[in-house]
Symmetry: D3
Subunit: 337 residues, 6 copies
């Protein structure tokens, strides 16, 4: 079993029931998750030795977050304990044409106040095949930006695959800040999850001709980025058409060997839970790359994993590799009995 | 903050869970609502001093109904206490092609036995900008019909805008009874919520040519009614296409200044709760009129308020003016984070 | 009230909530049901003296299963007590493009170990108009196969209508086993529920020309089977198009008097619970035959009963004859109040 | 199996969760029950053919009430359908030193408006061993008082045992009204459930010397009543010491053959549900009398049945005769595994 | 109706179910409360115009906190909007000999960062009869300490009664800090809630002779404090004996006119919710003082209000004055029906 | 961290809510547990590398059972996959004087059909400090008895401490069977959990003088067993006084170095969940022995761990060593805030 490492924040999520606003709720559902934590969970279910690096407070919420990770088989040896609080956020789940609303209460969290020197970079990368981080982590503090740069450099040295997901969140930082933080990391990446908006707004690529089909535009952006950062071997993203909060269409894109590969288009309806859909997708791509699968298999697997995730509650995918493959081949809705 | 007044019954609603019949239920959800009460709640959330006039029994259910109103900021100074019982109704929520079933148990309620002399009409109208009442209230007793007539006359004298929603309920009275009760009120109305069926069946307007488009027919009816009652300055209604109990299409209509204005068509799917959708719409129209907005803004706001209501549980809309406007401009289902 | 008899297994069903897998669940919903038990329940609600013949253990689960039957008015005089356990199964309800997953834990159940001699065949058939059994019962043991053959023979002698539903379940037995068990029963049937796959795979009918429309193919199969078993007067089945686990299309087919009659096509969306949909349909057909209704009424009633079942939780239909008829005539989703 | 008959009202009960007031509740638990209905349920579980005579409305609540009865094996052939509504009541369950609060909403119920002529007295008593009625039924209307008198007279003629439970409820009628209604029934009773307060306040017995022990006083009252109505062969009641809403002590008393027999004293703590405790006791006494058991066995069984009832939710006892006997012999709290 | 004012923090409370730890919970109950907010709620239910002064963030949680206050009739005109977050805390409810555990997450809350200049002291005190504040508010920031001092001084000037509850929380500050903050406020108080530990540890009173009975010791402390601060006319506190988290004994103490008055001792068992018990008590004392009741009535009412609070969920008492009086006179646990 | 190993069955437990019987339940709580699994969980929380050896089926319930173990940090490398089913049992939780009722459905489980050769004994014991097994495992099959004997012998050889808990269950086997199975294991034990009844009924020790105090009798039995099996260095058991299902008294006993040590007596009231109380105790004893603590500390810690367990839901203790110690020192019920 290969070792894979992700680093980021794990948060407590408190959500209302469908059709209920926070001011109506007298109970909230409890989940734990975060972009990188969710990727670690998926990779653990796909059969990897997944390690999650983070920091949680020494209180019952920190214990609960760790227990969540362990229940999915994620290794928590690098989960630091300390700091003031566990990042928290509240979700009023959208339905129909009302969108989900996220209320963040994550400032001053233990992880956001992590110092670079608390992490022993060599030991977390020791023996690892891959390290994965997202833009959310960069948004949290200058110290984290500095830490990630150090990690990426060391990973490069040690021959560990470097994966980065832009995951831009307008509620956390400005495009300018994001751009400044991400650009210095680009030369170290092997795998890059980003889309059209990221290319234009964060990397400053000249916009493609708007009359081109969506996939042509995406191809153009990936080629342009690759010209700047030839170290990047895989680019990936999804096309998501939002019909309503309950109904989406989803297609995966993978650019490798100078070619764009696309999955089938999934009709996601009804959506049980959209949160974590992107992380599940990223984990699927990473698994395909680690297994050195052909491009079509990688993108088919990753998009199926994401589609499947939309049908269950919680932030993370607990389907095994086999279940995803079976679903990818035979998605239907027919009862098995 | 302008004072607005509504008068009607507030009831206890007991509903089954989705996909459950009353004979399967071992718990029922509790809500409090009623057409006029719901309008008061919406107007309170839109920033008005909303007063609700009614009567509830001196028991824990009466207290709970009052508490519901207060929690939404509705003033309860004119909520009388006494009588025998709180009107109650049971809802088996429809789903797909099975309709919702309402079982009324509202007879002998405190409000339905209210006497005209219990209400100090001058004091409730004192300083008010608007009074709103629906046909449901008229259906409950001759005494209430008499009371409403007195109120409408006095409102006219005092320069208070008079709004009336036909809200015809076949389970409560016959078309003939409704017609007899509503016609005498027509000369006092400024704002009238009614549709094609109301025009033909309750006001006796000669049916329009059935081959005309729906909006042409509606325009014809409003013009005809206005010929009879030139005092009415605003007519409004919705076109609702019922695809299933879970999926509707909704469009708002406003007739003013001799013109029919229509909102965009909302696709409501899935519908979390349809009850209160019309009241939310009416409150939206009233807010637009009170704010003296242009017709297009009135109808856009009102229909958005109604669409939004369909995505939450409970009888009433607790969205603020700002939230409705934002939704009207940008309804999508895209998660905000 | 006519007496009708069904015989089969009643099981405990434990299901997760929507969007939840078994490994996420900390509570499971409890239902009791089984193909023949569900048919008995429907027939009781349609106004028959329905008797259910089975065997349950002497423990609280056996008591609960009996209580379930009684609450729906099914007679339990022929419900034997004894054996080791109540058959159980777990359902992870499907949603969208993820199918429902059934995990059976029914081996060694009291019913599956029933011996033919435990049943007094004459007494259960005494005065009955109809006996109904499905292929699931045959799949459970050789002893049950032998018992059913004896019952069918005796029913024929006593002039009791014999109804059989193929209900093939790949998780329980092979096609060959099913074929061997069902063929000897064919000469005793009056009513036969089977479809294209059953005809080809279990009865060995030569496949129809695949380019023919679906209904023509079905007609061909029914004619072919009737050539072999002229005793069968009614054939029936449904066409179900699975768009997703949440959205299906359903149409009923009835072949009698050498003609194929088809119901309207129901759009089932969203589906609250699919389990029991077929049993509800079968009960509808049986009621129509017992009432000697015209073919169109039979098929319209049965398909409506099945459509209605999809909108409620639990294995069985608790709608009355009148409610089904009203729905069949006026299915819409419009709220009644 | 002997036939037994009870007649009374069955109501919908809506209760809050422990520690919750009605004005805090957003869901209410649903139960169906009533004094005589509960006795019928217990007797059905003890192995009798129990018939419950009443009237419920033709709506989903009436159906649900009937289904409740059937699920416990009570025969509903004499359950009339019609009238305006199902009697309803709300319970805020007490806890510790806060008492339960009952809010009745039972006026105008179908049963309370039942007319004597709707009941075919001969047919309900045909073949019965016992008829049981309580004072609550008398409190509901003059027509019901008249009906009960007719029933008691006919029962006497037909040799059916007549049982009456005073069950005085101050919220329903005055002591004077109760006294006037009950006295004419006394000459027809064989079994009478009443206590010290009933004897003094409703039957006008001269109070016993207050310094006597409680059981001596009770014996005195029973002797005095028997002097007036020598037809009564069994008297019974319980001594209940209320430490708090959660903790009671309970002892059963049976007076027969000129002697007072007392059960052991049960410590009931915590009490899950007190409602129905008395009905469960009465059913236990009736079963003992019908079985012609020795006095000590009667009173031991009845008090155990009542104690057991306090440990489960809902209005009625669903324990079998065997379970009650086992509990009576071996009450402990030790887990069996 | 007299105007009363309280000022403090209102927080979101998230609690586990009974017998569940945070690391086991997948749903949390939602309540809103805080010492001063709870007192305001109680006083509103007792019939006062209660105003609550605080600051909440502009997000759905701030809205929900305000809605909670309004639903209890508390005026929110002085509830400021702004800042970063709503103070939050988590409760693992204790049971038996396991204590409740509180996990605070209240740092950086909007209220804790309130500046003195944000409050218009004159306008909040205008026309008020009483202002009530607790030590928790002082613990939150120097700015709040300064603000409270200004408020107390101004209240004195304006003839508003000043009430202060020590409410010492070791998790928020040290005894030394508390002492430094509270002492300067003492000369302005009219009503002071404090106990033996407060007197010794925070006010530096020489400890009483430990062999004296508890009430003698308390009297001694109150006399000593009064020597130092003769302005204080009422002292109050409770004696609480903790048998277990589920079972307590409670007695109220009131010192006025140089005498100590004590209530009866309540046995609280089982305790539904202990949080808010002290606030309910304080509100009871304040109501008695405002009504100028005799000492015995004040202490009896306040202790009853607190006992009653322990029997319901949530932070605050929603019983009316009449309900508390009835309970005080007739606490029992006997069901009323 | 020391390695410890337990081997036994892990089952699915389905329980009703408090005050609810199985025939009333429409949802059941889900837990996973078993005597040896629970000990492993406790030891993992106490800081050991705990391994659980067992066999679960390849289905979602097997996955869920494994996930339960992992969430508590138990190593599942030796959890075999295969066989027919997961052992299941149903619990109707007792309350007051009604006992809990356990309905087993564990026959034919994967574990009960485990063959000795499926286990690699050397590898499970490799590097372990302790192996713990209970009598329940022996009861399940002859193959398991044989396996355990081989394991105990090998453990002795390898210097691994051998711990055995009699855990006699009358529903699983007779005293004679148990005696035959356990006696051959005695010579290999280092730690033995047994009580008076075990000594007399299973080991055939001559009964002690019944007039002796309970602790004297226990001492006598332990001395007698030690005479027969001098290899046993530690004996332990609890005295449990069952006042009701809700209220127990518990005291721990430890016999070592020829002396009997007893813990304080805990009053357990109310009991949230009794299941797993004994396993929690056993784990506490084992931890004390492994840490080579003084006898008084061992018994104090173990009994506190068990008392704490009774206050939470689920089969197993998730308190850390520190939490247990803090509770042992300071059990009270006082809220910490």
């Amino acid at each position: 079993m290969k070792k894979v490492v992700t680093l980021g924040e794990i948060m407590l999520r408190l959500s209302t029931q469908t059709g209920e606003l926070l001011n109506q709720a007298n109970a909230l559902s409890v989940h734990y998750g975060g972009a990188e934590a969710n990727v670690a969970v998926s990779l653990a279910h796909f059969g990897y030795q997944a390690y999650f690096v983070s920091k949680v407070p020494v209180n019952p919420l920190g214990i609960a977050a760790e227990r969540h990770l362990k229940s999915h088989g994620v290794h928590t040896e690098f989960l630091l304990k300390g700091g003031e609080r566990l990042g928290t956020y509240y979700v009023e789940a959208g339905v129909g044409n009302r969108s989900s609303q996220v209320t963040y209460d994550r400032k001053y969290s233990s992880f956001s106040q992590l110092l670079a020197e608390e992490i022993n970079i060599e030991s977390i990368l020791e023996g690892a095949s891959l390290i994965h981080i997202t833009g959310i982590t960069l948004a949290l503090s200058p110290a984290l930006r500095e830490l990630i740069l150090l990690i990426f450099k060391k990973a490069k040295e040690m021959g560990v695959l470097v994966s980065f997901d832009f995951n831009y969140r307008a509620k956390l930082w400005s495009q300018q800040e994001a751009s400044n933080a991400i650009k210095p990391l680009m030369p170290y990446m092997d795998i890059c999850f980003c889309g059209e908006l990221d290319a234009v707004q964060l990397l400053g690529i000249v916009p493609a001709d708007g009359s081109l089909p969506q996939e042509e535009r995406l191809k153009y952006y990936y080629q342009k980025i690759k010209e700047l950062y030839p170290n990047i071997r895989w680019f990936s993203s999804t096309f998501r058409t939002v019909i309503s909060a309950t109904s989406n269409r989803l297609q995966g894109n993978l650019f490798m060997n100078e070619q764009l590969y696309q999955s089938k288009v999934y009709q996601l309806e009804p959506i049980v839970e959209r949160i974590g859909g992107g992380d599940s997708y990223a984990a699927g791509i990473l698994r395909g790359i680690l297994e050195e699968l052909p491009a079509r298999q990688i993108i088919s697997f990753a998009t199926a994993a994401s589609a499947l995730k939309h049908t269950i509650q919680g932030d993370c995918n607990s389907f095994s590799k086999e279940e995803v493959i079976q679903f990818a081949e035979n998605e239907s809705g027919v009862i098995t009995r």
